[in-house]
Structures are given as structure tokens and as C-alpha cells.
Amino acid sequence: MSEPVRRESDPRSIAGKAPRPERHVAVVVVGGGAAGVAAAVEAAEAGVEVLLVDENPVDNDTMAMDVPLYFGQRMQPSVRNRALMLERVVESNPALASAYEAGVDVQLGTCVWGAFVNGPTVQELDAPLLGLADERRSWLVGYDRLIVAAGARDVVLGFPGWERAGVMAANAAFSLLTRYRALAARRMVVVGSGSLGLRTAALALEHGVDVAAIVEIAPRVRGDAERARSLERRGVPILTSHTIREARGRVGEVESVVVVRMDDAGMPAAGSDRELACDTVCQAVGLTPSVELLALAGARLRFASALGGWVPELDEAVRTSVATVFAAGDCAGFHDAMLADPALARRQGRLAGLAVAESLGALGRRDAEGRRAKLDPEPPMQPPREVHGHWQAWLRSLIHAGGWEVNVCQCEEVTRRELVETRPPRYLAWQSPQMSARGLGTLLRDGPINQDQIKRLTRAGMGPCQSRRCREQVALLLAEATTTPVERIPLPTFRPPLRPLPLSVLWPGDEPPAMRGDWVSWFGIPTQFSPHWEAGMAMDEPTAHGRLIMSDE
């Protein structure tokens, strides 16, 4: 009946302007730690083209924003020397040599800030893409398979004075000590006596940093008793049933920390405050998997407290819910045994490398099975223990010792009280009886608690550190204040860029002419903003294709 449909694309739409990746590789591995290198080597040895990227050395300006780890301004000036840091990153990671030998294309100092995939509302991409960047520029890389081995991030909690330079966290200290050899600390108080805390203290001592004390909220040491005794023999007091009252100092630096003993009722014991001189407070309460890239790539996540929080759903072959995406190492689930034995992460990495090679047809099924069988079996280990109850005990103690007027979000200066009262930010100076009547309680009446909604209202988590310092403690605090199990608080969304990048770095130098020429105004329907008294008159020149279809012409 009707004429054939004329179908020309809307010049103001993305059609015909799809981004071109700078290159396409069979496999991209993100993260050059134990799992990532093992994955890259395994895949490369099976004959697959592999690009391995690792963001280290991270530039000083980024570190100063506590990105990607909570460095707490404890970098030595030497981190500004890129060439030196590059050398150290390579030296400190002998496994990288095996990757070079296997023919892996290794790109250091390169971060991944985005993953872009087609879905119900994106159809423009020819292939899944990663956004990469170094300190100067950004580019896109297409891939057939992605292995994420992005590691884990510190879980940190606030106390009065935690904004001071010198409050940092364990994974950052580990990185500065072992990778950069550039930790600017002389005397450290370690918060947490689990495996992470004990390792941090031992490592600090090895590198000539005094350890003033290890502070632990639990009534006894949480990590290995023998390692704890060895630290005590070396003069490190371990203060159990203690928490942090405050970090003190002048001109924004940590000069001491006040610790306090908690009584049987979980309250600060009167007269037990003690001031410890130190220039660094290293939070080693726990780690949580770095799942942001997995989330952007579309992998389904689940909550598993024994694995450190939100982790990707994985099958036996460490494949995520997205058939082309795999995860290995700490980002797939962190627990103490991962810390004790890097062989666990390596094993996961090799499994990922084999799975990828097999899925690309580089290895036959039998060959892959054979190689899998040759991997060392997973050593017997204790089932990992849940961690969030312990983190909540820490948070409760810090609230009792430090109160509610403590920033939960440093970037946006949102206090615990402002968070649970869902106050608008202080700079608005807003007062009204209506606003005062609102809070978490009234929000709860309207629906389950949602961290993204609280973020919009209070701004907690909206700052330049991209909520690395507050994401977990906001969730814990919301759980605590609303007596909601923490796993019931939805994970706030991750958005690109996954690293805070200058506009000039993101700047694409290769925009197609149509991207420039057809981008005139917002959205660009010719009559969209035309005055109603001039019905039909276009605001800007309608192009030949930009005509409106109002009737059957």
C-alpha cells in the first residue's frame, strides 16, 4: 500500500560517527600484578595477541588526589621522576620480564578509564572498546576478550583529623614501599591487626619505618598469632580493644594520634586516652575488590562479604556473566589467603589466560584441559571469613570515640550527621522547617535505602576522588543508621571516567568531520526551540535530511 520507506540517517545523531579504535587486539589484560601477568603470559604462550596495561607508575598529581589508592600525601618527591618510577615499577615486578619474553605488548603508565559495550540503548559500536590514557593523551582500543585483574582497594573509615596529610591506607603504603620505593613516612600507626595490618607493619619495619603501634578494635589480634608475636618482639605494641579517637597536628599534617580503649560495653573507657607520636596513620582495616571496570563492561556483581564485598559472578573458567570478559586476582574476590600467597592469584590468572585462549580457538579443548591439569592445585585453606561485621564494629567504635561531626566524604565535606540527616550541602546555607523534618527515616518510608539517591542529596561520594575514600563507609553508615544489612544497600553505580582525567587528556585528536560539522546545538531538532508564535520555523538551518515528518507527504 504505502511507498517504500526512505531511510536516511539523522545527521544530528551518532549514526556514521561511531568512534574508531586506535587498534584492535585479541586480548587486553588490565592490571600487571600477579594475576594479570600470569593471564597475559598464559594467553600469549598459547599464541594469542595480548596487550597488558598497568597504570603504574601513576603520576604525582593523580596520587595527590588519592587515586587510585589512598596515598595520603605520603609520596616522596621522587614520584615526580617518571623515568625513575618506570624503572622501579619494572624492577619491582620481575614477572613482567616473562610477559615481555612471551611476546606480550606491555604498556605501563597506562590506565583504563572506560569500557564501552553495545546494549539495549547503545547500538553504535562495532566492537567492545576500552578507553585508555597515559599522562598526555587518551585513545580507544577494541578487544575480543578482556581479562580484568585490577586488584583491590582499601576500605577506609573516618575519624577526627583524617583529612590530615599522613592518613593513608595499606594498599597505598604497600605500593609506595615495594613498587615506588617512595614512602615518605618515619613513624606509623597501623589501624587493623588482620593479615593486612600485620603485613603492613612488618613491611614498614623492613623499610626502616618505625611502627608506633597496631590498633585493633577486636579483643584479640585478628591475623596470624605468630606474626603478631614477632612484631611485638620487635617492639611494636598491639593495642587490642582500642580505636582511634583523633589524628592531631599542625598545618594539616599528622603529628600524633590519640587512641582509646573500648570497654566491654563498646564505649570509650574513661581515662584511657593515649597520644602516640607519629607522622602517618595507615588504615589496614580491609580491602575490597576493584570492580569498577567489570561493572562498566557489564559484568553482573554479587555481594560476598567473605570476598570483601561486591564481586563479579564467575564460572569455573573465571568468566564473568559477559562471555567476553574474565576476572582474576583480588578484583575477583579478596580474602586473607590471597595476601599470604600470590600463587592463588597467579593460578586464577593462568586459568583466565587459558580460558581466553580456548574461547578464541587458539587452544583446543583437550590442550586447554591438559594445561589446566598441570596447574598447581589450589592449596587447602580455611574458608574465608566474612568481613563486614568487623568493619561495622570499627565504624561503631569510631562513632563512639569521634562523634557524628566527622567527615564521611572528604572531597565534599559531608559529615556523618549530615549524611544520615540527608542535609543539603553546607554551602547552600539552607534552612527550612520542611528540610529539618527530612532525613534517612523519612526517605526509608518511601522506599529502600539507595546510596546513589543519598549521594545526589548530600553530595557524599561526588568529589574528585570518585568516592574511593567514602564509598564503603557511606554504605556501612547507611546500614548502621537504618539497621539494614549492608548487602541490601545497592552498590552505587560506577561511571566513566574511572580515573579523574584532564579534559586535555580525554580530547580526541581524530574526530571525524561529521562529528564536528553536525554538532551545532543541543540535540538539534530544527524546530525544537522555535517560538510557539512562529510555529514551524527552525532555530538553525534545517539540513536536507533534517526535515520533520509531520504528515504523510
Partner: protein
Amino acid sequence: MSDRQGAAVVIIGGGVTGLSAGWWLARAGVDVLVLERGIVGWEASGRNGGGATHVYSPFGLEEQRLWPQMDELLGYPTEYQPYRIGVALTEPQLALARRWAEIGATRGFRWESLDSRQLKELVPIVGDNAIGGTYLHFGGHANPQRTVQAYAWALQDHGGRILQHTTVTGLTQRGGRVTAVETTRGTFDADTVVVAAGPQTGLFADMLGVWLPLAPARVEMIATEPIPLMSCGGVAGNGLYGRQTLRGNLVYGGGPHEWINVPDMAAPDHPNTPLVRNLARRLAELFPGAAHVRLIRAWGGIVENTPDGLPVIDRLASPGNVILATMSSVGFGLSPAVGRGVSELVLHGRCQFADLSALSLGRFAETPADWRDRAGWVSAGAPVAGAAAGDGADE
């Protein structure tokens, strides 16, 4: 009467249009219930550039009258800030900025032309590439997220109700009227129904056997870390729209949209694409003095468009107790006025303060079912699903 769970007015959609309408009705003492699939203002209403400068619209004068009072009227902060600056890097951009300003002048508002030196004084981060601009002594911007929540809270303060996490599954029709709204949490009786469901508004029209041509699209925005506050945060140009927030972030959107399909009532995904790089470049071109500033966040949103890009705000002839409200992707800034207009359509059958004839549904009576194909407003993926003229209703 615990089992009568209805309201005089049931509003489908807790976006900025539905919430504002509900708030105006609740203020007038009307028993109103807003049904929201997810969380209030979660879609385009809370994800936009926050502009409040739409004097071209039939609602434009009321928009300008209301915004300066909104904080007080609502009792919650909207972060409304007056005035806009347009920056032009090219002659066509300058012409476009001036055209905007002239439309304002037609309606009695004042504006000034800015040369590049004046621009630089007002907006220190513009560069030598700016050739001139406009200063509008009208218009402004607000914080969309804070504003949608303010509407919702103020609506409740006046006795209105909002049910979040409640998806509408059907409309019960009897005797030429919609008598009830069926949802995942039961059926709600209604005397009047307002459909303000964004991209899904067309699906509801289908249910009623009414032709409302809508094409959904995905658009993207970016936000930088905060920089020192400029005297006027409402600065835009170079094909971008946005503002500096009161916190100091530069928040801008624009660029080529992607036409998509929204086949059902489920919340659509709104991911970003590599377009964030192009947006970053546009922003750095607009503000060379901020090229070193870091981008910390990007997001996407789904907007719906009518064939002429203009809203449909209309009371249906049949069923006669239904009002359709789609703002065709430009709804946030106009929301104070549109909500008032919709409340008048509910209460009086017509809008008393503005002539809405340009926004009537009737203008699309002859629009063919395959209009999206003909206009090229189509997804690169599956063919257009859902709405087709005249075959939407089962009854």
C-alpha cells in the same frame, strides 16, 4: 476504607513533570497519588543540564515568573540561579546565541551583546578563540536532582502521596473513562489520570488507542571537578548546554544523540559511550582556561521526542479524563510552569495562564506510523518496536 487505594488524581510517572503537576494539585488541596516505577526523578528529570531559559515556549513567561520563587514555594533548595551567558566561537554560533536572546527580547526581556573582552571578564576561563557572546538578563539554571526531590517532598508536605517502585501495568477503562490504574502493587481507582511517563508515555497512549508519536534517544553529560565559582554559572556555547554548579563543577551535555527503542515499561539503561571524549574536547574548546581540569563523572539519560521536538500537553477527547504530558526532551526548566498548566487542565479542563494550542496532540493526527523511518530517527539496532498508528489498543 483501607481497600480503596486510589486518588482523585493519579499521576503516572514521578519525573519532573508529574511531580510538579502533583505538587500544584496537592497545594490546591486535591487528593493526588504519583506512581513511580523506580525512584523519583531518576531518569532524564534528574540527569539534565538544569537550564531554566525557555522563553520561546507557551510556558516561557510563567517559567520566568516562577523560578525565582521556587525555593520558597517548595520549602526546599533548588539551587536556582538567574541569568545566562552565551559564548560563541564561530559566527554561526554567535548568530544562534543572538537568536536565543532576540526571542527573549520579543517577550520583553533584556539582553546585551558581549565582545570577547567583556566575555573574558565575566567568564575568566574562556579563551582567545571566543569571538563574542550574549548576556541574558533572564533565564537561569537550577540543580535537577535537588529540584526533583524538592517537588516530591513538597508534594508530600501538602498531603499528596508518592508510591515508588511501583510499575503501571494497565489502565482500566469503562464508559469512555479510565477508572483505575493497574500496577505491580495493586489497582488504584482514579477520577483523573495524568500520564507523564517520559519515553513510555507513548506506550500508555497505545493502551488507550491514541496515537502519540514519540522517538526515544540517549544523550550524555559530563562533570568536572570543582573550580572557583564564576560570577555567573549559567554559561554555555559551542554546541554544549550546561552550567557551573554552586559547588563549582562544570556540568555539560550535548553532542550526537543515539536513537533507541524503549519497547516496554522497564527502566532503560543509560550508559556512556566514547562520546565523553568529544564532550571533553568541546568543553575544553569552550573554556580553554579549564583544559587542565579533570573530568570526574559522566552519565547518560533517555529523552523522548515528538516529530517537531515540541511538547504534547493535552487533555484527551476520549477517554476524557486523561491528560498526556510529554515535554519532548526539554522538561526540567519549564517544569514549574508545566506542572501548573497540567494542574489546571485537571481542575478546569484548560490552562488559564497560557495558550497550549501549539502543544496539542491533534497536530500529529496525520503523522504516518513509519515517521521515524522517514525522518531517519531510528536505532542502528533492531527495527522500531511498539507504537504503530491505530493498532495500539486491544479494546
